[in-house]
Symmetry: C2
Subunit: 227 residues, 2 copies
């Protein structure tokens, strides 16, 4: 177990930080993976770096990938990030086409070259029910495909996609993260933070986060422009 | 049908050119997709551009992606491309970890933003039996995952991964391409071409190609350094 490696998708947000701490608590050596894909929340990468360092990650790779070039999401185009109440029904405009599939595919490549058989992703069904690629049936299908895609699958190893936050709501994730020693002051969840990392307090992600801390009876340690 | 769009993965090689012509022969509007991923065969991208133009592609996207950074393949590292006879058993060193999964994931994003429900990939089981991500069971699993991953799947459209060359050998692909009007002089299959596009004649890909033309009783129109 001491040498078991895990690839952890690390966006720099509250969920992925908790997911990373979870993987570490299971005894995995952490190989963190982040992406620059044209997102507005550029600051989140520096959050990811701090979280990787705090978690004692063995390695942290940051890949610049061409996903934003396709457009199709308010996170990667000039379209405004929605801030209106209530949190919308259906697929939000912040959904980035095939994002988790592309992220997990890179994680799969990274797993193959490092000899890891475990990939962690901080998706959850409750707060992101509108994102097709956050659903458990999607993750199961990805795992099946991944085991047919790679050398390790052919050689008889089983690759597992772990989604430890899948059934938790934001308040439960905040509690779980606190329990696991996550330093939430390092995390960035905002879809449109200021260059020095202040959260807007208005986008869907900020509102979910604030509601999560309130639900957990805790105070969010990050700075907000407005809340 | 006149408005049906297809995403075609276009490497610039003989197989993908034939696959592209096949999609066009089915009446699809072609949205071609190529990648710069750190491969040694940089010339193949200019081949892909010529093929896209000759096929009358509506659009040709070339994405620079960070795949080569992981290493793990003789196509993207300093390791020599193997040239020894015979064509090796097992998984070749030219296998790039998770390459087709990453390529197909981008194709999925591209399909979603263009409103295409068909993706074409020129894999085949016979000549590339050593590559796990060229097998039909892998492609079926990818298609299942893809239909759970995206907005179009949720909205009731079915996304299909087409692999029209899956059961053809190289000689049959050469015949099929000829029948479909592919200009093979534009294609580049070599793993290590010269900067002006001459094929080495020695790598596995060149040897498979030459054997394919010989088997089809045709002459390969491209230039070789040695054959």
């Amino acid at each position: 177990m001491a040498d078991k490696k895990a690839i952890v998708l690390l966006s720099g947000g509250l969920d992925s930080a908790t997911c990373c701490a979870y993987a570490r608590s299971m005894g995995f050596k952490i190989y963190a993976l982040s992406f620059l894909y044209g997102q507005k929340g550029f600051y989140e990468i520096s959050a990811a770096q701090k979280i990787a360092a705090q978690t004692g990650a063995v390695e942290h790779r940051i890949l610049e990938i061409g996903l934003g070039e396709f457009g199709g999401s308010s996170l990667t185009t000039e379209a405004p990030v929605p801030t209106s109440e209530p949190v919308a029904e259906g697929i939000p405009s912040t959904y980035v086409p095939a994002r988790n599939t592309i992220f997990l595919s890179y994680a799969l490549a990274y797993a193959e070259v490092t000899g890891a058989f475990d990939i962690f992703i901080g998706t959850n069904s409750l707060d992101y029910s509108g994102y097709p690629d956050c659903r458990p049936e999607y993750l199961e299908a990805f795992e099946k495909m991944a085991n047919l895609a790679t050398r390790s699958g052919i050689e008889g190893h089983h690759l597992t996609i772990h989604s430890p936050l899948q059934n938790l709501n934001k308040a439960e994730i905040v509690r779980k993260g606190t329990e696991l020693g996550v330093d939430f002051s390092l995390t960035c969840s905002c879809y449109q933070p200021t260059p020095d990392g202040k959260a807007c307090g208005e986008c869907e992600s900020c509102r979910l986060r604030l509601r999560g801390f309130a639900g957990a009876g805790l105070t969010d340690p990050i700075e907000y422009i407005k809340k």
